[in-house]
Symmetry: C2
Subunit: 320 residues, 2 copies
């Protein structure tokens, strides 16, 4: 039996590394635990943005530039919706709708989100397990001085403009960790856990907030490593840097490592931030620098390779 | 106050005459009472084929050839749905989906079908009232030697191939006639009721099966006229002729008049069937012949004009 890895991920940045990891590891050796905190119901449809971005990324169907949605998309539905006076702030492409309608119908018929994600993945030729963090709905709420906002209203409708003062993960307290994720984490073949370079606050934290996961990660006898989504003081994409500033955090990769302090064994900074390695917190936390800006498939595979090598080194160095 | 008319209609053929009538009569003078027996839930969406065909026809958005759906349609949704292994026998265009998703969402939010139809009509610039026969779901079931079929499964999935032995309108017994239709029928300005050239069995009969409508029509002091959907022994479009054959009815316009015998005062046959005028049943039923094959807008307006003139003649001739 080969070594097994669980990668915890949100959308965009995480999905890029996921593609790299999936090139190096087969479906028996790699599973994804995916954020569902940014899921929402819209126009009567169940939308799962992070799962969808991962789905389209792994299936080779993702839009090359947008960071969400499908390639070769058309927009007839949105045009008709606008003509009818419907809510058009969340863009749903015609092909993308095939997925949302299928998922909504299956959920209404009583299937679990885990089952539906697997069915859709299978239909699209994806062999790796994508595990929603929980089949119980958890909803990320963004706190702002003007009040609370559902995540997609903050992120898409309001374009991340409101100042952020904190987050709540509604439903989290009564959510149950996906039992298949627990199974991977308790597997004797588990070799490491990877926190992908997704937004710590709204992509990874909602996953970590599912009861039982954090203690499981703390108890693990294998390395937990994170890849910084902050490179040279900037977020590659999305509002991570803006959120850190508004939350009065230092705008550095080291602050991300500190954010994950209680569960982390290893941290990967971007090669541009190599000088910060010494500033990465605790004495029992190892850090390395590696190119982490992923544009091409080769970039994704290279960072995946660096991550797996780092996990190997940590395993060899330490007495777990 | 001008004379008012209520036109009872299904899809295709009825919608063509509806367009003609709407050119001659303003929204104060004309309302449509529409079949909902072929409505169904599909992929979690509420689909109302006859209402939609009428909607697109009146809005000038209908597909020029298909007899259903929108012009300038694209099919990305269907392609994605098929890729996901979904049910693809009922074709839903990308723009058409904007309507189905909007309606489904509004119905789920508690709006009545009548309200939703009005909202969508208003958004598309339609000024005439399109009244669903009832806000209570009624479902046309087609009886065949192999068992019962939901209407769309018979009509679209099985392409009308099964032999027809009869029909049931499920839910009809507990349906309530749209109160706005009752209002039109009881209006002192009512000048006539028109049964459009739709399929008698699956477009008009489901409407007539709504409790209370048939006695209302029988009691009316103004003419009720029907236009034959059978021309020279053939149905212009759809399975009317095939159904009549399977139901052992003579394949003539006169048989259609006979089918409506208890409510009809006037009957319009196509000009090609002028020789049949003498065969149209009862002595108290007047019949005329007029060109009824509608291809161009002028054809539609001409048949609408013939129909209104015929109603005028009947009103003048008889002591109501």
């Amino acid at each position: 039996m080969s070594a097994r890895y669980l990668a915890i991920t949100g959308g965009v940045g995480g999905a890029k590394l996921a593609v790299g990891l999936a090139k190096l590891l087969g479906p028996d050796a790699l599973a994804f635990l995916v954020n569902t905190g940014d899921d929402f119901e819209h126009l009567g449809l169940q939308i799962c943005p992070d799962i969808d971005t991962l789905t389209y990324s792994l299936a080779g169907l993702s839009h090359p530039d947008l960071g969400w949605g499908r390639r070769d998309e058309t927009w007839g539905f949105m045009e008709a919706l606008q003509q009818l006076g419907g809510e058009a702030w969340f863009r749903l492409g015609d092909r993308d709708l095939g997925l949302h309608v299928t998922r909504t119908q299956r959920l209404q018929a009583g299937a679990s989100l885990t089952e539906v994600v697997r069915e859709i993945a299978t239909a699209l030729g994806i062999r790796h397990a994508m595990l929603p963090m929980s089949d119980v709905p958890v909803r990320t709420v963004v706190h702002t001085p003007q009040g609370n906002l559902g995540f997609q209203h903050y992120f898409v409708r309001d374009q991340c403009r409101p100042e952020v003062t904190g987050f709540t993960f509604e439903g989290s307290a009564s959510a149950t960790l996906n039992p298949l994720a627990r199974h991977w984490l308790e597997d004797p073949q588990l070799a490491g856990v990877i926190l992908c370079p997704s937004n710590p606050f709204v992509s990874i934290d909602p996953v970590l907030a599912v009861p039982g996961l954090r203690p499981l990660l703390q108890r693990l006898q294998v390395p937990v490593v994170a890849i910084s989504p902050i490179v040279a003081g900037l977020a590659i994409k999305g509002p991570t840097a803006k959120m850190m500033r508004e939350l009065k955090m230092p705008l550095t990769a080291s602050a991300v490592a500190e954010h994950y302090a209680d569960i982390l064994d290893g941290f990967i900074l971007d090669a541009q931030d190599e000088a910060l390695i010494g500033t990465v917190g605790r004495s029992d936390l190892s850090a390395i620098a590696a190119p982490s800006v992923m544009v091409t498939l080769a970039d994704k595979v290279a960072l995946a390779r660096s991550t797996l090598d780092f996990i190997d080194q940590l395993s060899a160095l330490r007495k777990w």
